[in-house]
Symmetry: C2
Subunit: 305 residues, 2 copies
Amino acid sequence: MAKDDQIPFEAALLASTGPIEALLRRLLDDRPLSGEIARPQRLMEAMRHGVLNGGKRLRPFLVMESAALFSADGEAALRVAAALECVHCYSLIHDDLPAMDDDDLRRGQPTVHKAFDEATAILAGDALLALAFDIIADEATMLPAERRAALVLALARAAGAGGMVGGQMLDLEAERIQPEEAGIIRLQAMKTGALIRFACEAGAIVAGAPAADRERLAEFGSAIGLAFQLADDLLDLTADARQMGKATGKDAAAGKATLVALHGANWARNQLQGLVDQAHALLCPYGEDAVLLKQAAEFVAARNS
Amino acid sequence: MAKDDQIPFEAALLASTGPIEALLRRLLDDRPLSGEIARPQRLMEAMRHGVLNGGKRLRPFLVMESAALFSADGEAALRVAAALECVHCYSLIHDDLPAMDDDDLRRGQPTVHKAFDEATAILAGDALLALAFDIIADEATMLPAERRAALVLALARAAGAGGMVGGQMLDLEAERIQPEEAGIIRLQAMKTGALIRFACEAGAIVAGAPAADRERLAEFGSAIGLAFQLADDLLDLTADARQMGKATGKDAAAGKATLVALHGANWARNQLQGLVDQAHALLCPYGEDAVLLKQAAEFVAARNS
């Protein structure tokens, strides 16, 4: 399954994408579900363009591995993972819009508003957000209703004004109002941290794990969410566009404050190691079962694309 | 409570807005909820601008009256009504964007992207959509988890690619591809019909009413949803901007096909009467308890603003 030059974790991540890609493709089919009137073709094409784009599917992987830690039902976890990926992809579609980050490329392909148009991109994002809650609430996600409702609530809160969307708002404002260190940390915990935290917490909710485990997994998610953003900021400073498949050096050009800009690359690399250690410590109670999640923490901190 | 020149139904509708306004104001407070990190002030102001704008709150009224038909818990119905209004208001914010209908005025006030900016308007809409599912899924909506999950599913499906968002997509395309009569009816059933249908169905779900009642209320919602759009098209043809608080005659100017344009105003008035009769017939089993819902059907068909 793995190419020879891949480390084992990357091979595991790649191997995990098969089922999630298949499910996303099925969920984004043109045929309407019960209670739907019709699925306009152009809208569905735009949604598929924004979702079925060769993403690494890191968040789905985190949902599924966290759920596996508690021997949860794999099919239910897979649907929650797909819902989360819909939210992640909607946020990229909207963030790329001219009124926001104004990006033409995403993974080397035209962004949705470039491949279609702005109105279609806005609507495709809106529809993906609604679809995420549809997927979780549906009885096809074979979980007790209490867990489906808890997952809807946690995802809505992670994605909304007090989470991801609020973080994007703060990020846009950061170009005008330079935030202090605490402000940058809060912005990042919201913009990218909240969904990664949810990914890890969701596995515990799917499994009906005790509250203490749910909190432990959420904290693990927060730690690797912070690491994810630090690695991203480091990369923005050092990588070229070819490596990223999107424009780079944009933060500095926009005068955006990042922790890396504030403290330098060496500090950032030390911080990353500290976050990986913290993430590993949180997983101690799960022993060998958590080996892939531990590797995920290292992968997030060391990633170069 | 009623002004002297108001008909009784309008007085009842107006009287019903007090609790919903108060709840919406509380839900859109600056203070973060548990699980939220912070609520950025500018984002919350934009959300409040888009929601607390003197709307008639017809959809919340329909939720609450439908729920009352089955003696459902009023507080739970009120929260579902607020969630639905968040979805309705998000859709107006996004529809008004320059890339979509490009409207500067809504109820005589600047639209959100005019009062703030495009990026903030996109994010305010996104956050309102997430908030809607947050409100319903929350245990504070004192309903069994089965009903909360069913409400999330029905709302997501009504709002998504196979409902409202898909309808807006078809509406944008209708400027280029003139749809046939069947296409116009489908477009309208999705764009405005789906949420009004949900409003009426939601009351039955909140109450845990039998499936036959749920279906009956949904059909009632579909009938008045069609009437709502017909009345809107009539109004667009005949009213002036002062009366509407927004630009009028835009459909004709954009060359948009409507049933009124296709068949004329007299045909439309006959159709409206037929839809009201149909709506009334659907409510027959509920006798006197449904008097306000029957009046709502007449109000929707006869409205002039």
